[in-house]
Symmetry: C2
């Protein structure tokens, strides 16, 4: 079974690849468990650091149709479509966001359609498809009213995927990810970057700025559970999803204060003191527009699980990522 | 003031042009009433029959970027974007629908963006953006879950228009039209074609087939009120719409039986006898998936009005279109 991960050198892509290599098999369209023979990471940058003969890295632009056709071929059973330009960047560079998040996604769907064997496509969408006048509780039935170009591009990707699915061109499924925290590495251009930064930097003994008020609420999913959900979402049978191909993954709803409290319990008061509170009205406004409460009953029924609480998310970061972070900063110094 | 109507040789486009020529002025972006100096009808076919020096016909494909840039220029204050491939055709020819309903619409938005003067764009969308698990009452907040490629393409057009508006590239507004009835002329490839046919053909002494049950409910708007709404939607101030650029136009909800009863009252039992009831499961299924009840309170507040009742729609057809239909069939025979 051949699997392609677009954006495979990215944060989630690399972890997904490692997890798939570990487990060694996946379910195919016929519902049969099959050995994974090949995983292709397609990305503009190389991940590096993999030493598994089943893993192949292809470096290139997903907006290049020839490359896409080379990588996604008749043997490709499943595609995890993760490549994307993040929210802040799609807002800053409209054309880039349209080209990668919209055009390249559509082109991927068209390549699948031309192949004709109805490959399984897992598309990572985002809660950024929601916005505007939101109901008290957001669920899978809530209207997509994105308030950012990234959200619009993801919403369009969802609509296209659903239509390509409906027409029988692909076996499509959309998983809407909450904000991922704690994300290791450097801050990025997403408005939600602080949702990892306020935990990650203090744990790495680095000062950080929290641009929103302690009462601000976030909807979070750990990297571990995100990867588990992407795989579980792939494994769902076609029938389990039926006509409703988009699923909101279960996050946990926490206030920034609760996050900081959890950090204090795990790493002590000195860690908390690394956070400087300096409101950024732009970020505060964006975060304030995010949904306040969620009903992910459908994901629960489908067997897709979130995290237990934020403290276990912090502890998972300390276990999974802090040793690596310490090592890499050690190398740099 | 220069106005462009894409799909201007179509059913609504021609009527809109005539109405605009009659009234002679429109409101510009600054809220000032201005004389209409030019109306360009851009369409693959020519409308013909216009003899007004303010009206210019350009024959060509809206998917042609050079043509689009020639027609939509720095002098263009407003664009009514009506050109579209209808539902049945977009379902039958997926690529055609994508090219005209999606790509060409986006290209129009990009031409507007490049111009930089933030032209006003009125986009005719459709209730086909709704489908799937619908709430008891559909309103402007209801989720877009289209179940046809046409509906998906319209929903994507809406999302794009809203984002181009939000970013300040255009002054955009989306009017979601109910099914238009009574549409003159020939049956078309839309699943809703019968909603005009069962009235029009009997009034023209022609046999017709009704493919759905008498209890089936439709959501209808007359051509007269559709045109009035397109113009009223154009005239709304930017602030009146605020961030919510998509408006469901008010239709009237009638059963097919009520339509036929109204036909009987206007034209007698012999007209009703022209209808043959012959269920088409495909059409019945599509129509059955349409929303049952509507709340168009927002359109009411905005001053957009529907029709009084279906009988007045039939009478309006008899007044506006039957004389022409009689004349043209006279010419043919
Ligand atoms: N991390 C989150 O909080 C979050 C939340 C919601 C949704 N998502 C979605 O999940 C997916 C993965 O997110 P991530 O956090 O791993 O992001 P990431 O930025 O770490 O990874 C995305 C990868 O896509 C690659 N990419 C960008 N443009 C490309 C192109 N033209 N051709 C090939 N590759 C290209 C990048 O190089 C990067 O490696 C994305 O689709 C993202 O939108 C993430
Ligand atoms: N009539 C209805 O019941 C109804 C309902 C909902 C929405 N709408 C929408 O209202 C708009 C107008 O509808 P209508 O009933 O007048 O349709 P119509 O089919 O009579 O007119 C559409 C026009 O677009 C033109 N066109 C198609 N492809 C083109 C291309 N590539 N380049 C240039 N022109 C092209 C056609 O030649 C046609 O004249 C459409 O966008 C339609 O989707 C109509």
């Amino acid at each position: 079974m051949k699997i392609v991960i677009t954006g495979g050198a990215g944060f989630l892509g690399q972890r997904l690849a490692r997890r798939l290599l570990e487990q060694g098999s996946l379910t195919d369209a016929a519902g049969e468990r099959r050995r994974i023979s090949e995983i292709v990471l397609l990305d503009v940058v190389a991940a590096g650091g993999f030493s598994d003969s089943r893993l192949r890295e292809v470096t290139g632009d997903i907006a290049d149709p020839d490359l896409m056709r080379q990588v996604v071929d008749g043997n490709t059973a499943s595609i995890f479509h993760l490549a994307a330009v993040v929210s802040g960047q799609a807002e800053a560079d409209f054309d880039l966001g349209m080209r990668i998040n919209l055009d390249a996604s559509r082109q991927l769907l068209d390549v699948c359609r031309q192949l004709g064997h109805r490959p399984r496509v897992v598309f990572t969408s985002s809660v950024a498809v929601y916005g505007g006048r939101l109901p008290a509780m957001v669920d899978d039935e809530t209207a997509r009213e994105p308030q950012s170009s990234y959200g619009v591009q993801k919403a369009i990707g969802e609509l296209l995927l659903c239509d390509y699915h409906r027409r029988g061109f692909i076996d499509g499924r959309v998983l809407r990810l909450p904000t991922i925290s704690v994300r290791p590495g450097k801050p990025n251009k997403a408005a939600s970057s602080f949702a990892s930064g306020i935990i990650r930097e203090p744990l790495n003994d680095v000062e950080t700025v929290c641009p929103v008020s302690p009462e601000s609420r976030l909807w979070l999913l750990s990297p571990r559970q995100a990867i588990a959900s992407l795989i579980a979402g792939h494994e769902l049978s076609d029938e389990a999803l039926g006509q409703r191909r988009c699923v909101n993954l279960p996050g946990i709803s926490v206030s920034v204060q609760e996050m900081v409290d959890a950090l204090g319990r795990v790493a002590g008061a000195s860690a908390v003191e690394r956070i400087r509170w300096q409101a950024d009205p732009v970020v505060q406004r964006i975060v304030g527009g995010w949904p306040a409460a969620w009903d992910t009953g459908r994901a629960d029924v489908l067997g897709l699980a979130g995290d237990a609480d934020f403290e276990s998310i912090v502890r998972a970061y300390v276990e999974d990522d802090l040793p690596l972070a310490a090592k890499s900063s050690g190398q740099q110094s």
